[in-house]
């Protein structure tokens, strides 16, 4: 019992550390690497504010994907928004006492939890049925989707089938977050769910999942189109005179 708690606690801290460290490293490298030239895909906004709006429209609405392929867009948007609400729903394990808005989130969160694996299955189906996506897909692409599918699946099992004791789970997670340890629940479904999430966290910074922070650094999207109005300087090339 105590042994199990130590193992899972260490795993949680390890995964969280890898995640935070990995993401910060990536962000630092991206931020430090210069953009020597102006390369926004035009037509592009002419101000930095406009460029920020453009990036947000990509992040929140997947605007380019919408123009590109409506079916992929649909699957992608549903999947990501469901994922977001599922994550938000999990905030309640870290908050005490529960704020009022959290209650409202719970309902959306449950719906999102049901939608999420469906969306994942849809994306998997698309990947395996279109000859072009079959050609470009590799183990890593199936791995990410499968992992998330099982995370969602075990989560739903706890909600609708197993129903382990929530107070124990909250105690454990809240304990981890506040360094106020309590015993890990021994429910096997929970343990699997928890382990898979830790794998996802640790996997995140070292895989294509870095698209989440990466998109903010994409020069074709985040640069303003103003090279004539404002001289863009290449930090590694000397000025000509």
């Amino acid at each position: 019992m105590q042994f199990l708690t130590i193992i899972f606690s260490l795993m949680a801290y390890g995964a969280a550390a890898v995640f935070v460290f990995g993401i910060l490293c990536k962000i630092m490298v991206y931020a430090k690497t210069p953009s020597p030239l102006k390369i926004p895909t035009t037509p592009a906004p002419t101000t930095s504010f406009g460029a920020a709006v453009r990036v947000l429209s990509e992040v929140l609405l997947f605007r380019s994907l919408y123009r590109s392929n409506k079916w992929t867009w649909l699957g992608g948007v549903v999947f990501h928004w469901a994922f977001l609400f599922v994550v938000l729903r999990h905030l309640r394990y870290f908050l005490y006492p529960l704020p009022a808005w959290d209650m409202k989130l719970q309902y959306i969160g449950i719906v999102a939890g049901i939608v999420l694996p469906i969306a994942v299955l849809y994306l998997l189906m698309r990947r395996t049925t279109v000859d072009r996506t079959v050609f470009i897909s590799s183990l890593a692409d199936y791995f990410a989707l499968t992992l998330i599918f099982f995370i969602a699946g075990t989560g739903l099992m706890m909600k609708f089938y197993e129903r382990p004791f929530m107070v124990d789970i909250k105690g454990f997670v809240y304990g981890l977050a506040t360094f106020n340890f309590s015993a890990v629940p021994t429910d096997p479904v929970f343990l699997v769910h928890f382990t898979l999430v830790m794998i996802l966290l640790a996997y995140f910074p070292y895989s294509k999942l870095v698209h989440a922070p990466g998109i903010f650094f994409s020069p074709t999207r985040n640069q303003a189109d103003n090279p004539r109005e404002r001289r863009h300087v290449n930090p590694w090339s000397p000025n000509l005179t």
Binding site: P34, S35, I136, S218
Partner: protein
């Protein structure tokens, strides 16, 4: 020259997404660059013994210098949105011409040498050693990309395969694997001052000839000045405008516009090229060297304004990069954008009523307009986004009565490349060029059938060369191809009211 076997796609007026045909374009290869050009440009003449280490070292350097490359190596999720967007995939059916698969050729090597997972897990993490076979694949498929950025437009993260192609070519050049056409062109531009390798006197004599020609046709002494100090405008234009057909017709158009506006202008024999193939092969130094001739010309001729002729990739370099490469342009008059596109210049004059245009001069034509990819997706005209689409169309509408746009999915920012940009305008790959232009030809055929389109208006020197070459293969007359300023040249009424 040996006849190359070509296969012309069938024209149906529609663009369909084909099924995969693996290795369909695997045998398409640009010729290698001659030793002389490699040496001149500072590259080894053949594959060096330690090519692998050198290539990986170059890769490391580029990853540190270009955020685009670094981020784009990491973040592709293989969503597949770009897979049906490249004209080379649509026409060759070769899956490695899908943008994501093209990029993957570099990415798998990136994983092997620059990611922990790739170093440890190897193939399992889609990482691959840089071998001779991989290098061959690079040479094949990174010279089947025109760097047109259509994929970047449609990618949810804006992943720009052009950036990846440029990096790959620079790595290959560094280890001694260069392609003849782009590198020879770069060498000529650096050493002689233009892509055609024409010395100043040769240019002067064609300008003289043009002066006579225009005089004969119109009775008006329109000048084609060169190396005139203190002229208001320095015009930088692709050297093809001096010699090639239909390019010269547009040059006549520019000259008539300057003449009629009463604005003094000059060409430069030293900076006799707008084109900048340095960009295509991803070498910053070459790009800057080529552009620096323009800086020298500005310092010497002391113009007030810098105007740029009809050329797609050249306008990208001019509009987006010149200020960085050779700016700031402190000596120029800040009232005008530097550089200014000739279309912006002419459009401005039309708006102010400074030009008299007789549309009936172009009544033989039903005109359609091909948005050059580099203008459409990598630059701008005018003050607001999308001006690069409106301004040339406005000029066309002002110079002729019948204009029709091609299918909306093939124009403006969604335009299809001509299939010969990015250093692919080489004879030996004519079959690839004929295929690459297929989506564009389908769209042209559709407006031909529906509206009788018979004039294909362009604002790019490479586009002009490519379309005049491939039109006949598709059964169309090369005379249907022309510049926007060719229409201006025909419609403009000389004499009478002069100046502004």
């Amino acid at each position: 020259m040996a006849k190359v076997k070509v296969e012309v796609p069938e024209l149906t007026g529609e663009i369909t997404i084909p099924g995969l045909k693996e290795d369909a374009a695997a045998a398409v290869k640009s010729h290698n660059a001659p030793a002389k050009d490699m040496t001149d440009l500072g590259f080894p003449t053949e594959l060096v013994p330690d090519w692998k280490e050198k290539a990986v070292a170059k890769f490391a350097e580029l990853l540190k210098k270009y955020r685009s490359l670094k981020v784009y190596m990491d973040i592709c999720v293989k969503c597949g949105a770009c897979t049906d967007k490249c004209h080379f995939y649509l026409s060759t059916k070769d899956p490695r011409n899908m943008p994501v698969a093209r990029a993957e050729l570099l990415r798998k090597v990136y994983r092997r040498y620059f990611t922990t997972a790739g170093k440890v897990l190897g193939k399992l993490a889609e990482a691959e050693d840089l071998t001779k076979e991989v290098l061959e694949e690079w040479y094949t498929y990174f010279y089947q990309c025109t760097e047109c950025r259509r994929c970047s437009l449609f990618c949810p993260y804006g992943i720009d395969t052009a950036e990846i192609t440029m990096a790959a070519r620079e790595m290959m050049d560094t280890v001694g694997l260069g392609a003849k056409y782009p590198l020879q062109t770069i060498n000529k531009a650096i050493t002689i001052g233009n892509n055609l390798g024409m010395p100043g006197p040769a240019i002067r004599s064609t300008l003289d000839f043009m002066e006579e020609d225009v005089k004969e046709q119109t009775g008006v002494p329109v000048k084609f000045p060169m190396d005139v100090k203190g002229a208001d405008v320095l015009l930088i234009t692709p050297s093809a405008d001096f010699f090639a057909t239909p390019h010269v017709e547009s040059l006549a158009g520019y000259a008539k516009v300057f003449h009629q506006a009463g604005i003094s202008w000059t060409l430069s024999s030293y900076a006799s090229e707008a084109g900048n193939f340095g960009m295509f092969n991803g070498n910053y130094e070459h790009m800057q060297k080529i552009a620096s001739r323009i800086k020298v010309a500005i310092n010497e001729l002391k113009p007030k304004r810098l105007v740029h002729g009809e050329c797609g990739h050249a306008w990208r370099v001019a509009y987006s990069f010149w200020n960085t490469l050779i700016g700031p342009f402190d000596s120029l008059d800040p009232k005008y954008p530097a550089p200014q596109h000739i279309c912006e210049f002419t459009y401005d004059l039309i708006n102010r009523g400074a030009l008299k245009l007789d549309k009936t001069a172009n009544d033989d034509f039903v005109v359609t307009f091909h948005d050059s990819c580099n203008v459409a997706r990598a630059s701008r005209m005018g003050n607001s986004p999308g001006g690069q689409f409106e301004i040339p169309r406005a000029i066309i509408r002002a110079t002729c009565n019948k204009f029709v746009d091609m299918h909306p999915d093939t124009i403006r920012e969604k335009t299809f490349c001509c299939g010969a940009g990015g250093g692919l305008l080489a004879d030996e790959i004519i079959d690839l060029r004929i295929k690459g232009v297929m989506p564009r030809m389908q769209a042209y055929k559709a407006v031909k059938d529906s509206h009788g389109a018979n004039f294909f208006a362009l604002i790019c020197a490479i586009c002009k060369a490519q379309f005049t070459k491939v039109f006949p293969y598709y059964g169309y007359e090369m005379e249907e191809v022309g510049g926007v300023h060719q229409l201006v040249s025909r419609a403009i009424v000389l004499g009478g009211k002069e100046g502004i």
